[in-house]
């Protein structure tokens, strides 16, 4: 074991603190079950499924909850025959 690793290792507590602050800000805001990002995700998928059949495997939804802004990315593969299938 490298005896200098002990000194050079970066502190982990600041990361814990920051992660908690971001997470709890979101959890407190959505305590009344009104998490906007989750709602949006569900409604967007609903809206799309009205017009075409969505293959669950071809949909990628990613969310990133940040301290100031959150991002929601919906990535859907639309095949040529999507309309017919719906």
């Amino acid at each position: 074991m490298n005896p200098f690793r002990f000194f050079s290792r970066s502190q982990s507590a600041p990361a814990a603190r920051e992660r908690l602050q971001v997470l709890l800000a979101h959890e407190r805001a959505s305590a009344g079950d009104s998490d906007l990002v989750t709602k949006l995700r569900d409604e967007i998928l609903q809206a799309i499924s009205k017009h075409m059949q969505i293959d669950d495997e071809k949909v990628r939804v990613t969310m990133e909850r940040g301290a100031q802004v959150s991002t929601l990315a919906v990535d859907i593969e639309i095949p040529f025959d999507a309309k017919k299938a719906a």
């Binding site: 502190q11 982990s12 507590a13 600041p14 814990a16 603190r17 992660r19 908690l20 602050q21 997470l23 709890l24 959890e27 407190r28 305590a31």
Partner: protein, 271 residues
């Protein structure tokens, strides 16, 4: 009328039962009449931590179902005259814990004791919500660790919405009890500091219990940590916390900061 205190946390294993027993004993050691009630139906442990496991005859559910009188179910501590335990049922389903039954039992205990300490089960289900329902004061037990802090935040939300006090538009008195704190690791930057946790949860601090081998040693022999060794670091911290619970304005000391030179060298308390 006695005060009803709930000891809660959301997360399991952070020290609710240890703290309930230690605070109950600390209050009783100062002459207060105390009953500690185990709400963890199905997984009771307060009896074991307090060393009364072989004397349990009736339990909380028996009293609620009318199968035993409250006085029959209460177990008096062998060491402290004014300390009593009301055990939880080990075999019954937790659905037997009814809101009406709990209300009756708490009311009866309140008229007979100065302090009714409710040891909540982990989680946010029925047992936990019933344990906090009638509380005047809540003690939120938290470890300086991300999952414990998150769950405590959730519990604070419940204390402010699901308790009788909250429903009546009153303010629930909440206190943070930070347990398993290691000042050396916190100083090194590898554990959340007291101030970090306080800033995130923003409730007043009732005490800091240092990480200590004395806690396991006490539970091994079935003794609240304040009784097992009343000079140990966690015992002193619990005595202070109990005094703050009674309303005394004691300054908070961070354990370990008073470490002697020899203590630093040998990595242990040089008491």
């Amino acid at each position: 009328m006695g005060k009803v205190v709930v000891v809660t946390s959301g997360k399991g294993g952070v020290g609710k039962t240890t703290s309930s027993a230690a605070l109950g004993a600390a209050l009783a050691q100062n002459g207060e009449k105390v009953v500690v009630v185990d709400f963890d139906v199905g997984l009771r442990n307060l009896d074991l931590v307090m060393g009364a496991e072989r004397r349990v005859v009736y339990d909380l559910v028996n009293v609620i179902q009318g199968e035993a009188k409250l006085s029959q179910a209460l177990i008096r501590d062998k060491r402290l005259e004014t300390l009593y335990l009301l055990p939880a049922s080990q075999t019954r389903d937790k659905d037997n814990l009814t809101p009406e039954g709990v209300e009756k039992v708490i009311a009866a205990l309140q008229s007979a004791f100065d302090w009714v300490i409710c040891d909540s089960p982990a989680g946010i289900e029925r047992g936990a919500t019933l344990a906090m329902r009638h509380a005047d004061i809540a003690i939120v037990v938290t470890n300086p660790e991300v999952s414990s802090v998150r769950d405590s935040d959730r519990i604070i939300g419940l204390l402010d919405s699901k308790t009788l006090k909250a429903e009546n538009g009153e303010r629930m008195e909440k206190h943070l009890l930070l347990t398993r704190y290691d000042p050396i690791r916190a100083e090194r930057g590898d554990m959340l500091k007291v101030d970090d946790v306080l800033e995130i949860l923003s409730i007043p601090l009732m005490g800091i219990i240092p990480e200590s081998a004395d806690v396991l040693r006490a539970s091994n022999v079935g003794s609240p940590v304040t009784l097992a060794d009343n000079r140990s670091a966690p015992a002193l911290a619990y005595f202070d916390a109990a005094r703050r619970l009674k309303g005394e304005a004691l300054p908070i000391t961070i354990p370990g900061e008073k470490r002697s030179f020899l203590g630093k060298i040998f990595g242990r308390k040089a008491a």
